[in-house]
């Protein structure tokens, strides 16, 4: 408890300092890192903890992004850019916070609807079904011109996302997932990951405990999508597609099967490409970033096939104890 408050304060302090000292670019990088953390940690719910191989996260992000963008868009500009919007949407403008939450909720709802039939599938069958879901969402967004402006996407979204929103949502996400994981709900998920039959024979409902992480994860993916949209300020159907899903899975795998792992993976992947960029700019060999990243990735996988953190978590209390902050 005290450790938790310490952490909140320290992170808050860091955020404050960053907001004060960093330039726009570095601040944006930090904000994206936060969004990556939200994405990775929420995807870990299904992929790392429940053993469901989902590649559908970008679809939920897309839903959250589009919904929240439409909701925060000023009605005057909507009248010009999206004239065919249904009446109630056309006149609506919601505060950012609310819009993002609604985006998350609708993403979660869609996860619920798609999850019911699809979660009967396992492993790669599930992976293909979630890829399919993502493509379907993408096609719908592309073709529903009147709502989404088709391939052009929505631009001119107000850049509401700042380091504080990211900070809050990172904290909420990590806290939620951490709490869930250390309760009967999280243990039920782990059980399903390890052995579905045994889990069922102990009274754990497969339907419920597969849907639960998917829906919860989708909520945070939707929120992350909303933050993303209001950071990039322009979204298109292809902003949220398979390569992004792959990127997220990469984060989880090199990080390890834990919250700590997901965070490490997200930060590592997010930082590395920024760190390598000067190298690429200096050599003018474009593609070098990806090549170096890939080689690094291979090296990590060969050295640490279970990910950097494995399935271990950082124990905040003992961390502070060892730092002699807490007695």
């Amino acid at each position: 408890m005290i450790a938790g408050i310490y952490t909140l304060v320290i992170l808050g302090g860091i955020s404050y300092t960053m907001e004060r000292t960093l330039n726009d670019y570095h601040l944006t990088v930090v904000e994206f890192l936060g969004i990556y953390v939200i994405l990775a940690v929420s995807l870990a719910l299904t992929n790392s903890f429940t053993g469901l191989f989902s590649l559908g996260h970008p679809a939920f992000m897309a839903i959250g992004a589009y919904i929240s963008a439409i909701l925060t868009f000023p009605p005057i500009r909507k009248a010009i850019m999206m004239p065919a919007l249904p009446h109630f949407l056309a006149n609506m403008q919601l505060p950012f916070c609310l819009a993002v939450i609604i985006g998350g909720v609708i993403a979660a709802l869609s996860a619920f609807i798609i999850g019911f039939p699809v979660l009967r599938l396992r492993g790669h069958y599930l992976a293909v079904a979630t890829i399919g879901f993502m493509i379907i969402v993408q096609v719908l967004i592309t073709n529903m011109n009147s709502l989404t402006r088709g391939p052009l996407g929505i631009n001119g979204i107000y850049p509401y996302t700042d380091i504080w929103w990211v900070y809050i949502w990172v904290v909420v996400t990590v806290y939620t997932v951490w709490r869930v994981l250390n309760s009967r709900f999280g243990r039920a998920m782990l059980a399903i990951r390890e052995d579905e039959i045994a889990a069922e024979s102990l009274g754990i409902s497969l339907t419920y405990f597969k849907l639960f992480p998917l829906v919860l994860g989708a909520f945070f993916a939707g929120v992350a999508g909303g933050l993303w949209a209001h950071l990039v300020t322009a979204i298109t159907p292809s902003s949220f597609s398979l390569p992004l899903a792959f990127l997220l899975v990469v984060m989880l795998v090199i990080g390890g099967k834990s919250i700590t792992g997901a965070i490490i993976g997200a930060l590592l992947i997010g930082i590395v490409s920024e760190l390598l960029r000067p190298l690429e700019m200096a050599t003018q060999m474009y593609g070098l970033t990806q090549i170096v990243t890939a080689i690094g990735l291979l090296a990590i996988l060969i050295k640490k096939p279970g990910g950097i953190a494995g399935s271990k978590e950082i124990n905040l209390v003992s961390l502070y104890k060892s730092l002699k902050v807490l007695r």
């Binding site: 709490r179 869930v180 059980a191 390890e194 039959i197 045994a198 889990a199 024979s201 102990l202």
Partner: protein
């Protein structure tokens, strides 16, 4: 407490269980024996809902449970162990037991987020229970090991502890003594008898170790090619010529 009537199970063209019936009374230990492939495990799979019966009915405390999903049946209080040991292999022994505590919790999702009193109370109970059950089965020293790294014999015990901690009313055990040496088997026998008394458990037991079956069962059923060929006290069954012919072998009689 458990009433099974006219149970049948077809696998393609194979009638693995034919017209099987059983009654279990509260607190009994009943044995189910028979040659390999007789259909014993299949009977367990049918009772626990892992397989759907082709015909017949299963009642638990007068409640029809035929065709219910395994998790429903488990939450009513019928828990099993598996012949081929199905632990949560990647997790530690301790975690295996915590998971099984599942059905005994009542707290809700919001309790988790708020870390409510109810949540904390139940989780504390969980921690003390896990230690208690680990000790009960004699595997406390293994609590930090990953289950799949453990030797077979210990895994069998972990599975029993895991089944017990979920507080079953009826416990189905599929060959708990397989892979144990005679001494260890005796320990398991004692354990089974002890927990039956402690928790007023009803136990249905599949086992090929005759010492165990004869030692603790009050009644024994013998299944052969899906059909019951004998039923009675251990002594009666042991001397049944059909059972000797099909299962025990002549050597053992001597």
């Amino acid at each position: 407490m458990l009433k099974v009537d006219g149970l049948k199970k077809w696998f393609g063209g194979l009638l693995a269980v034919n017209d099987y019936s059983v009654r279990l009374e509260e607190g009994e230990i009943v044995g189910l024996i028979g040659p390999n492939g007789a259909g014993k495990t299949t009977v367990f799979n049918l009772i626990t809902g892992v397989l759907k019966p082709s015909a017949g009915s299963i009642k638990f405390e007068d409640r029809e449970i035929t065709g219910l999903k395994p998790d429903k049946i488990a939450s009513i209080g019928i828990i099993r162990t598996f012949q081929n040991v199905r632990l949560f292999g990647g997790l530690t022994v301790e975690e295996n037991l915590r998971i099984a505590h599942y059905t005994r919790h009542n707290y809700r999702l919001y309790d988790v987020f708020l870390s409510s009193k109810r949540f904390r109370k139940e989780e504390e109970k969980l921690f003390s229970d896990v230690s208690e059950y680990l000790n009960l089965v004699g595997i406390y020293s293994f609590k930090g090991y990953r289950a799949e790294d453990l030797p077979y014999g210990i895994q069998k015990r972990v599975e029993i502890a895991r089944a017990l901690i979920s507080k079953p009313r009826l416990l189905l055990m599929d060959e708990p003594a397989a892979g144990l040496n005679p001494n260890e088997t005796e320990e398991i026998m004692e354990l089974v008898v002890r927990v039956r008394e402690m928790f007023n458990l009803t136990i249905f037991l599949i086992e090929h170790d005759m010492k165990m079956v004869m030692g603790i069962c009050s009644r024994v059923q013998v299944l052969n090619r899906g059909e019951l060929i004998a039923e009675g006290t251990p002594e009666e069954v042991q001397n049944d010529p059909q059972v000797i012919e099909a299962y025990l072998g002549r050597k053992r009689v001597a």
